[in-house]
Symmetry: C2
Subunit: 181 residues, 2 copies
């Protein structure tokens, strides 16, 4: 069972090259051959470490999802502003990951069932956090209205993130801060 250093390093290189490729050429361009070439590894070595190409991609999706949300420890005290600012810093400081998320959300979710569920579940969680933050700020609001607000705000954010993913010039932060809430 005991793993060797060589194998661990190889695994890291494979994950790194997959991440780079996903952000540079999308899911479509991230082929097994491309991953292996960039990692300086033969195909056989890849399959010694991973069950399938999908398993690496799925790991990266998890990474991206984890990076979207701010410190879960603060759950229960965060404001809508906190969540919005966290999203801004995610997209601007981590454009690679943001791109991966947007790309996989669409290219993956519509066809591959596994990714679809993962993205859907993540959206619901985010919706709840935004709604709770909203209700913390305005306790008189009923749940339905708060959920409505959260849904629209989230849609604006993802719409703008989508735009940022397609157009490098797009000033994401400024536009997000202009979103009415």
């Amino acid at each position: 069972m005991a793993r060797y250093q060589a194998g661990i390093r190889t695994e890291g290189r494979i994950v790194d090259s997959t991440r780079e490729l996903l952000s540079e050429v999308g899911l479509e361009g991230t082929t097994l051959k491309a991953i292996c070439e960039r990692a300086g590894v033969r195909v056989g070595s890849f399959y010694n470490l991973f069950d399938s190409k999908e398993s690496v991609v799925l790991r990266l999706v998890g990474e991206a999802i984890a990076a979207v949300d701010p410190d879960p420890a603060h759950l229960g005290t965060e404001t809508v502003e906190d969540l919005v600012e966290a999203y801004i810093s995610f997209v601007t400081k981590n454009p690679t990951m943001a791109r991966i998320y947007v790309q996989i959300a669409v290219t993956g979710a519509l066809t591959h069932g596994e990714l679809h569920h993962r993205i859907q579940r993540h959206h619901e969680q985010r919706l709840e956090r935004f709604r709770d933050a909203k209700m913390r700020a305005e306790p008189d609001l009923d749940v339905a209205t708060a959920t409505e607000c959260a849904e629209v705000l989230l849609a604006s954010l993802s719409g703008l993130a989508f735009r940022a993913a397609l157009d490098e010039e797009f000033d994401f932060a400024t536009h997000v801060r202009a979103v009415p809430r």
Copy 2:
């Protein structure tokens, strides 16, 4: 040169089956084989009528783009509400086309250059129309602010359209009407 009826009918069947496939299984699942099978046509017949698979897809993109916008004849008098309502009725009455647009916007734009330009150009045109409508309603607004508003509103709409494309249950119209402007 004179075309025969048989060829014209075949062409129609191919376009129809491509449209159906795009909305059902996305760009990825819309293979030449699938198109031909559904159209009840052999591969050779396809290439007698079209240069490539891409050319049919591109025609469908044009169709989708044309369907997104309301009657261009009214250009110059339409209000922001008109544009928003037109978008709502496009997405709700024509979910197939909406799906095609969203899917192609992302899956296509990031990799295939041709589609990328087309989608980008369309977005800019839409942005201008929303901005002009906004300025017509509030003549005191400076161009930058109006553009800003239009950009955010459009992002909200596309974010919600994206959501609707992923989740059949999603009540698009209600959410769009809840978007602050």
